[in-house]
Symmetry: C2
Subunit: 348 residues, 2 copies
């Protein structure tokens, strides 16, 4: 895809750009059709952490306090309603997906050495890296074990493949750190393994539990895959453009960690030689001042990188919508379409 021309965003528009970020409101609307079920999923997750081992109970109390917005269970449940799932299985599948997501976040925060997630302390900040490693293992292996006991043979290989792909994503992330020569292709490989794989698994498992045929399962899988890519490109763009006050996680944190994402990768490939050299210096600087940050954003802007990322996200959003275009109209389909808007809304 070529860098965008017509839709570039001038720095003075950043403010209104941010104003449009009202994720919580909109997510609540998307979740409306499955609100009661999401509460049941939450209850299942609470039951999951019941244990004779007081350390597990103690940590999980912290963990349950910082549980996320349940975007992936929402996708799974919405898709499942398209067919005729056994409700208990759909709820259970949604809980497993959220637990896998949680385990990944815990190991991820260890890897990133994050102290905050969604504005609250991470497990590795509250305890330490070692507890985080063990807790992640515990959640992974228990979720898998319960999944097997549940006897959902069609779901097991999807979850197994996905957790494997996510661990490859962790590896790629580590390999790409501090590497200014990362290409857009390598960036998307990482996005596919680390983020899109679990979104795709959420919609695929929803479709499988709904009892849909192979072709329709594939549609929903593709929907989740494109949605996940759009979501991550938006997230990475927002790491440059967002304000720490508006979103719960830190922004301007990718660069500080040596993680180079699409806006920078694109600018490094397309900016004029002189600006490219300046950008490389800024990207590896350990101590970016406000002035430096403005210069960096300016180069991203003038090189067309920001417009390109917005166009990429929009194209991926369209790809997601196209994947389920032939699906019959329903309140569930409508909510899924809104989920696409939610994933990229920060760039509108």
């Amino acid at each position: 895809m070529l860098p965008g021309k017509g839709s570039s965003l001038s720095p003075s528009n950043l403010e209104s750009f941010l104003q449009s970020y009202k994720a919580d409101t909109q997510l609540q609307e998307i979740q409306e059709p499955v609100r009661a079920e999401l509460d049941e999923v939450e209850a299942l997750i609470h039951r999951f952490f019941e244990s004779d081992i007081h350390l597990i109970r103690g940590i999980s109390r912290q963990l349950l306090g910082v549980m996320g917005k349940k975007f992936r269970p929402t996708l799974l449940l919405l898709v499942s309603h398209v067919g005729a799932p056994r409700r208990d299985d759909a709820l259970f599948g949604a809980a497993v997906i959220e637990l896998i997501h949680t385990a990944t976040l815990i190991h991820d925060d260890t890897i990133d050495r994050s102290a905050l997630r969604r504005g609250l302390p991470t497990i590795n900040a509250l305890y330490n890296d070692l507890v985080a490693t063990i807790l992640g293992d515990y959640i992974y292996t228990k979720a898998f074990n319960e999944l097997l006991e549940r006897n959902l043979p069609q779901v097991v290989p999807v979850v197994a493949r996905t957790t494997y792909r996510m661990s490859i994503g962790e590896m790629l992330q580590l390999q790409q750190k501090h590497d200014l020569n990362v290409t857009a292709e390598e960036y998307f490989q990482l996005v596919d393994e680390k983020t899109a794989s679990l979104m795709a698994a959420s919609t695929e498992v929803g479709a499988l539990l709904a009892g849909l045929g192979d072709e329709r399962v594939l549609r929903y899988r593709r929907f989740g895959q494109a949605l996940g890519r759009a979501y991550q490109v938006t997230d990475d763009l927002f790491d440059f453009l967002g304000s720490p006050d508006v979103i719960g996680k830190g922004v301007q944190s990718d660069l500080a960690e040596g993680t180079f994402t699409l806006p920078l990768i694109h600018a490094l490939a397309h900016a004029p030689a002189k600006e490219r050299s300046r950008l490389r210096d800024l990207a590896v600087s350990k101590d970016l001042q406000a002035d430096d940050w403005r210069t960096l954003l300016k180069i991203l802007e003038t090189s067309g990188a920001i417009a390109h990322c917005r166009e990429q996200a929009c194209a991926l959003a369209e790809e997601a919508l196209a994947a389920i275009e032939e699906e019959p109209a329903s309140p569930w389909k409508k909510a899924l379409e809104r989920a696409v808007a939610y994933a990229v809304q920060r760039i509108h």
Copy 2:
């Protein structure tokens, strides 16, 4: 079981005690009937780490250099020969078990902050904790994924349950750290989850792949379970009595890490009040001198703790032998019986 009376070991006998430790020789004998197969398992493990991702290739080269003695694959293969397995499946099962074991060691070394294993640097010492966390995840999830693709439905739940139990073991280990009130019962709970579960899985999977009936599968499972317990009690005793020159891993390291094992637990419960108080001080001391260590060993000795641990290990070894007593005689059974002797030989 009561603390032993007749068989206690005087400190002056420590030397001859150590002389009897010729593990490598004896393990080679046990492995003789499956030597060629173990080489094939090793080749499978090498193929497992082939990857497009150079970070995985790089780390795995280090890892494969420090691969262990393959005690668990040996058990699995020996048991499998009792029946009529598909050879490829048995080799594959043995590789999966060894990989799960390896992943656990990697996360374990992170948790223990070990710098050495088998006399060579650990992954977390060579790289860092974060790489170790990711690598462990990668090995777990890939092993599981391959297991599912292989279509061995009888093996999958055994491995899933075992990895879950091992993660509980990690939790218990963390919970018990620095806790001088740990009981023998709690100690054995940890041993069961962390060590015996994987030995039991090795022999159970061997029996399942051999196509044995339920009753015989259970026998081999019990054999592995008792063997694992005997092995761990011996290992923990040897952490007090061993010499760093003779075994590859560090000795006298449990106490330094705040890990209190059966010898200490038993002495704390059975030594006279005055010695008990001295022992508590020594156990939590950050800087044990050679004199302190001699005092500590002396209390373990006179309280009967060392004799008790030896008797426990012997009783567990007998339990393992009894579990397969009714199995027909064969070279495989003979090698398994020798594996029991190997597990506890350090205490003879």
